[in-house]
């Protein structure tokens, strides 16, 4: 009895031993999650945008996990804060790459942070998806490990110039803080306006000043019929108030990321913002992804950065599914196969992964636009959305 028992134990032990050896491999294959990261500005100058971006990204990951993950693996999203500071951003990226071993970093916002983080990504073969607008970013030697969903300033400003001319404005004054796209914005808009018989005056201001009276005086001396207010929300609040006080009666246009509902609420006086035009890169009017983002973040007008980071996560997840491998290099090599080139039109990763698993070719049309990239990582073309403030509400004029 005892002998048999002990023999049994030995055999069991052997079997158990063999199983423990065999098991981790199986468990690991199913159990180890695919790790992705967002690196958005949660504090600092980008603080108004980053938190919602992180939330949108987390929502996409949750949806995909509920539907069974990618390649049979769960997706884990790590969110770090870049503090809108390249030094802090690099430290955070180092942690994401070395400790969390993420396959992709998504949502870097400030151009300086993106430029600082990009070398870390391409050296460690990690994919970087960004919303930064500076033209210089896609010129970096990134070997394909970088895509951006924000149209570069050349594309944006050319379209803006055409729209301004279509509004009938000829004398335009541009008021812009110092940013990576300031110089190109001024020269490009001037060129676009002159082509249509218009002209431009411009002024670069300091975006941390508490008042812009002298800047407004200088702008009005030019006698413009339209002012292009190209700042961010906090400085544009002050600028619009000062323009109103100075009695400016012409048209005003600005970026939708700065002239948003938050700005309208902050100003709180309907007269100040009535009639102000906004424009933003946009998906086609019938794009369904934009509706999904609205639901995910719970606002009626999600900002363009939130839409873009939503697209980043969807694209990366579908690229992983198509490559059957969760590495930065795999994402780099396959992202264009799911973002463009025809096939079934897809607006979210859950449907996309299903279609890819079924062997179909997919073409993602996102919340920020069609999301088609050239070989440098820039988007090829996108539509723009033009809105106007009417009775304290942004109303859609057209998408073209």
């Amino acid at each position: 009895m005892t002998a048999r028992f002990s023999r049994l134990t030995r055999r069991t032990a052997l079997a158990a031993g063999a199983m423990t050896l065999a098991m981790p491999a199986v468990v690991r294959a199913q159990g180890e999650p695919i790790r992705l990261a967002t690196l958005t500005p949660l504090t600092g100058a980008g603080g108004p945008y980053g938190p919602v971006m992180a939330k949108a990204a987390a929502a996409v990951v949750e949806e995909v996990n509920k539907a069974g993950g990618v390649l049979g693996r769960r997706v884990q999203l790590v969110s770090e804060d870049d503090q809108t500071n390249p030094e802090a951003g690099v430290r955070a990226a180092r942690k994401l790459i070395d400790v969390d071993k993420v396959a992709a970093i998504m949502g870097t916002w400030a151009s300086s942070v993106t430029t600082a983080v990009a070398p870390l990504c391409w050296e460690s073969k990690t994919m970087l998806c960004t919303v930064s607008g500076a033209d210089s970013i896609t010129q970096l030697p990134h070997q394909g490990y970088l895509i951006r969903t924000q149209p570069n300033s050349t594309l944006q400003v050319r379209r803006l110039g055409e729209y301004i001319l279509s509004l009938g404005a000829r004398r335009v004054f541009q008021m812009i803080p110092q940013t990576p796209f300031t110089q190109s914005s001024i020269t490009l808009l001037e060129a676009a306006l002159k082509k249509g018989g218009g002209d431009q005056g411009s002024l670069i201001y300091d975006d941390k000043k508490p008042t812009y009276r002298s800047e407004v005086d200088q702008a009005l001396r030019y006698n413009p019929d339209l002012i292009f207010a190209a700042g961010y929300t906090p400085d544009t609040v002050v600028l619009l108030k000062d323009l109103f006080r100075a009695g400016f009666k012409g048209k005003i246009i600005g970026f939708a990321y700065s002239i948003n509902q938050k700005l309208i609420d902050q100003i709180g006086q309907a007269d100040v913002v009535e009639g102000v035009y906004t424009f933003a890169p946009s998906p086609a009017a019938d794009a369904t992804a934009y509706e999904r983002v609205k639901k995910v973040v719970g606002t009626d007008s999600p900002d363009p950065y939130t839409c873009q980071v939503y697209d980043h996560v969807n694209l990366v997840l579908m690229a992983i599914a198509a490559a059957k491998e969760a590495s930065g290099t795999a994402i780099r090599d396959t992202v264009r196969k799911v973002s463009q080139g025809g096939g079934k039109t897809i607006d979210n990763a859950v449907d996309g992964i299903k279609a890819i698993t079924a062997g179909e070719k997919v073409d993602y049309v996102g919340a920020s636009g069609p999301c088609d990239f050239d070989e440098k990582g820039d988007i090829i073309d996108c539509k723009f959305r033009y809105e106007q403030v009417k009775a304290n509400k942004l109303t859609l004029l057209k998408i073209a």
């Binding site: 980053g50 390249p86 180092r94 300086s112 990576p180």
Partner: protein, 306 residues
């Protein structure tokens, strides 16, 4: 090298830049009693000097470092010469303004500094040859430099020159009455301090291969003040310890905050900032002299003549 090891090595190197900045602040604040809120400005001067010399002018990296030291020292000389009558809070405000001026120049003088795009592709010493070991080698070099600067500053502290500097700190009129040329002491101390901060800037640039105006926000000056206050004002070893504690604390709060479940990323970020503030309050409340307080060696007695 990859994984945790690479991350830790990276933090050691970054901590080294912080430590040099802390040594710079300790010399001028702890040693001569002059509050320099413009640390980020001198950090930027060094980073830009070296980046411009190596990238735009094509000079070797060594020349970049030497250039950073010279530009930093000259910057420190100019700031002290233009503020000779200012002391205490007034000097602090002018130095804060100096740092902002440097940042605005870097932002707006696009022909020289490439504006807010920043300067990318700054060469690192032997980066290609070292490959994956670059971070480790650079961290070792940085730590060696920190030890060297610490050693030299300690020698300075113990020398008659250091005693005279402290006399200026305690009461500059008494020092003047005792026949010390206080202006010269102040200028020299400030120039040395600024050169050390500039050296940190050059090291930063060649390590990260990118500098931009955004790097040099006042935030970094605040971190260094936290480091020197925590480590011990007036003691070089305290400054180094404090700098490493600050960087260790900043990174550790990442993992600590992430361990709290059911919080959104922005709440994690807020908790990190709160912890940094809390740490400063606790240090100032319970250990205002710092972890390694200054101890002043007794002056050597003159040999008795009787």
């Amino acid at each position: 090298m990859s994984g945790w090891a690479n991350y830790i090595v990276f933090i050691i190197a970054t901590g080294g830049f912080y430590a040099l900045l802390a040594l710079s602040l300790n010399l001028i604040w702890g040693g001569a009693g002059m509050v320099n809120l413009g640390l980020a400005g001198f950090f930027a001067l060094g980073a830009y000097a070296s980046a411009l010399l190596t990238v735009s002018a094509g000079a070797p990296i060594v020349a970049g470092f030497v250039g950073a030291l010279v530009v930093g020292a000259v910057g420190g000389y100019v700031v002290t010469m233009s503020t000779t009558r200012l002391r205490g809070d007034y000097l602090a405000i002018v130095t804060l303004g100096f740092a902002e001026t440097i940042r605005l120049i870097a932002n707006n003088e696009i022909w020289l500094t490439r504006g807010s795009d920043g300067i990318s592709g700054i060469p690192g010493p032997f980066r290609a040859a070292l490959g994956g070991w670059f971070n480790a080698a650079y961290a070792a070099g940085t730590v060696a430099l920190v030890v060297l600067v610490w050693f030299l500053l300690r020698r300075l502290d113990l020398s008659p020159y250091g005693r005279a500097l402290r006399a200026v700190r305690e009461d500059q009129q008494v020092a003047q009455v005792a026949g010390k040329r206080i202006l010269r002491f102040k200028i020299e101390a400030f120039a040395i301090s600024a050169a050390i901060a500039a050296l940190a800037g050059a090291l930063y640039g060649h390590f990260n291969s990118y500098v931009a105006p955004d790097v040099f926000q006042p935030l970094i000056t605040i971190y260094i003040f936290l480091a020197v206050a925590a480590g011990g004002v007036g003691r070089a070893a305290g400054a180094v310890l404090g700098a490493y504690l600050v960087i260790f604390f900043l990174e550790a709060t990442r993992f600590a905050a992430a361990a709290i479940p059911d919080l959104s990323p922005v709440q994690h970020a807020a908790i990190r900032e709160m912890l940094v503030g809390l740490a400063l309050v606790l240090v100032l409340r319970w250990r205002p002299q710092g972890l390694l307080p200054e101890h002043i060696p007794p002056a050597p007695r003159p040999a008795s003549t009787s």
